[in-house]
């Protein structure tokens, strides 16, 4: 490595391959069309090509690759969920994430910081204990810690009891991590491209050809693609795209807002979350404090920001970290989240033959990118619901079999 670096320096040639090849010619036939080139769509294309030998794939996006919620989440990766089904699913994702730099040949800046979910009430302590026990049973590293230990893990935290909501304890999850979210989509897309997958950005799916209960093609502004199978992985637009296939979903589309401060030197190592205070924070590798709260109070397809969000978030954040009062906000934004009633995703087969869905990712999608891609690829290739995805099937709501993750999936409860 040092020798090649030396040679590169001395040769004076600075040309390198473009990260992505130029867009291939738009064809009107493909074996599989994936609608949505976010992390999930790119990952599904990669695993379909790599593990199932399906290479005749077109991935469409109405905007840019990884330009939707993949670029808008707050990059937290963890597996400390509440239900055994959820824990098993997110555990596989964390396992895949840990080896993903090497597999994709891209630096994801995967950084295991440790993750603390603060509890301010007896009820929250009970849920933390419950989650810790389920996690341990499933082989996930989580434990309940008390203020003396929290003080060692995060000395910056205000543990005084002279506040409105004193901290009684926390669920500590050492594998909790953050990563560079854009790189996840880019890495998957580049490796998929090398295996023959064709990406078409700025190409919106405007309709679906469905004949006799079976999907036959995708209508776009650039022509109609005739294909064998279609996977939708479109996050905030899930209901709109599903409607083209004649499907109704158990989803309400609601904005989720977030913000970052100006960058400063490293001071906060762990990721801190408080469900009761509807707030979470981590410090990025660049030094910015990345902060978010709960989803907006009502459905909306607009990614606007509100003062209500910032006031509500900062009120609680300053109680946790009074030193943040000196910080200035640098940016704010919103993502359009597809929220399900049980705070778990909707994945797998649909009533339309050869039409597969990866939706309902609400506020928990980024951390599941690798496992969703891998298992949805399996689902598309085999036309069967993989065991790991069985609990997340669309028809669970008709069977009254929800996977209740409200206590673990978000801070909005």
């Amino acid at each position: 490595m040092p020798l090649s670096l030396l040679r590169y320096g001395l040769l004076g040639r600075r040309d390198s391959d473009a990260y992505f090849p130029p867009e291939p010619e738009f064809r009107t036939k493909a074996e599989v069309v994936i609608i949505g080139a976010g992390g999930h769509g790119c990952a599904a294309a990669y695993y379909l090509a790599k593990e199932h030998g399906v290479r005749d794939i077109m991935v469409l996006d109405k905007g840019y690759l990884g330009g939707g919620n993949t670029a808008r989440n707050t990059t937290i990766i963890r597996s400390n969920y509440l239900t055994p089904e959820g824990v098993a699913f997110y555990k596989e994702s964390v396992d895949l994430f840990r080896d993903l730099d090497r597999e994709l040949g891209i630096n994801l800046m995967y950084s295991e910081r440790g993750h603390l979910t603060l509890a301010h009430t007896d009820a929250a302590m009970r849920t933390s204990r419950w989650r810790a026990e389920v996690n341990k049973h499933m082989g996930v590293d989580s434990e309940l810690v008390y203020p003396d230990e929290i003080a060692k893990l995060c000395p910056q935290l205000n543990l005084s009891d002279g506040v409105r909501y004193p901290i009684l304890g926390a669920l500590y999850h050492p594998p909790g991590a953050i990563a560079r979210h854009d790189a996840v989509a880019w890495g998957y897309a580049r490796e998929a491209t090398r295996l023959g997958v064709r990406f078409h950005q700025m190409t919106q799916a405007e309709g679906l050809l469905v004949e006799g209960g079976r999907v036959k093609g995708v209508v776009t502004g650039r022509g109609t693609i005739h294909c064998g199978k279609v996977l939708q992985a479109v996050a905030g637009s899930s209901s709109i795209v599903a409607k083209m296939a004649g499907l109704k979903l158990p989803i309400r589309t609601i904005p989720l807002q977030a913000c970052v401060t100006e960058p400063v030197k490293p001071i906060l190592d762990p990721i801190i979350v408080s469900g009761s205070l509807h707030a979470y924070i981590s410090q990025s590798a660049r030094g910015e404090f990345v902060m978010g709260g709960s989803t907006d109070p009502y459905p909306l397809y607009a990614s606007r920001s509100t003062l209500d969000f910032k006031e509500g978030l900062m009120m609680h954040m300053l109680e946790l970290f009074p030193f943040l009062a000196e910080m200035r906000l640098l940016r704010q934004w919103a993502g359009i989240a597809d929220m399900t009633p049980d705070f778990s995703p909707v994945m797998g087969l649909t009533p339309v033959e050869n039409y597969y869905i990866d939706a309902g990712w609400g506020t928990w999608g980024f951390k599941a990118t690798p496992v969703s891609g891998k298992r949805m690829a399996e689902c598309v290739a085999t036309d069967r619901q993989p065991d790991l995805l069985a609990p997340f099937a669309l028809d669970r709501f008709e069977r009254f079999a929800p996977v209740g993750e409200k206590g673990a999936a978000s801070v909005g409860h």
Binding site: I251, R252, P299, L300, L307, P341, F397
Partner: protein, 113 residues
């Protein structure tokens, strides 16, 4: 500050209100299958555009109907449940057409029309 007009209390800050979800047609509880009931409870039209919803003015526990645009965040119109019943079928929302006004109203969490 975003405002909403409550039919009982007039214009108030939207933070005083709670969204109660889409106005849906309730199937007959005695005849509906479990699957039908599940679809009624959990499945949403979730349109990107005009939507008709139940809203609650929380401080006064008053339920009413609002028409909103989910793309622009505009509150198009608010009305009492009584007004909604009377106008049903004449408002071109595409929501729950062909359903009786009574089955609409029973879908709310304690209607107050």
């Amino acid at each position: 500050m975003k405002l909403m007009r409550c039919p009982l209390n007039g214009e108030r800050n939207i933070s005083e209100f709670v969204c109660g979800g889409e106005v849906k047609a309730m199937p007959d509880p005695d005849k509906a299958s479990d699957a039908d009931w599940g679809r009624y409870l959990f499945f949403e039209d979730n349109p990107d555009g005009e939507i008709v919803e139940w809203w609650l003015h929380a401080p006064s526990s008053y339920w009413f109907i609002a028409r909103r645009d989910t793309r622009t965040e505009a509150v198009l119109e608010t009305m009492t449940v009584q007004e909604w019943r009377e106008r049903q079928g004449t408002v071109g929302s595409g929501q729950a057409q062909g359903q009786s006004a009574d089955s609409q109203a029973h879908g709310a969490q304690g209607t107050n029309g």
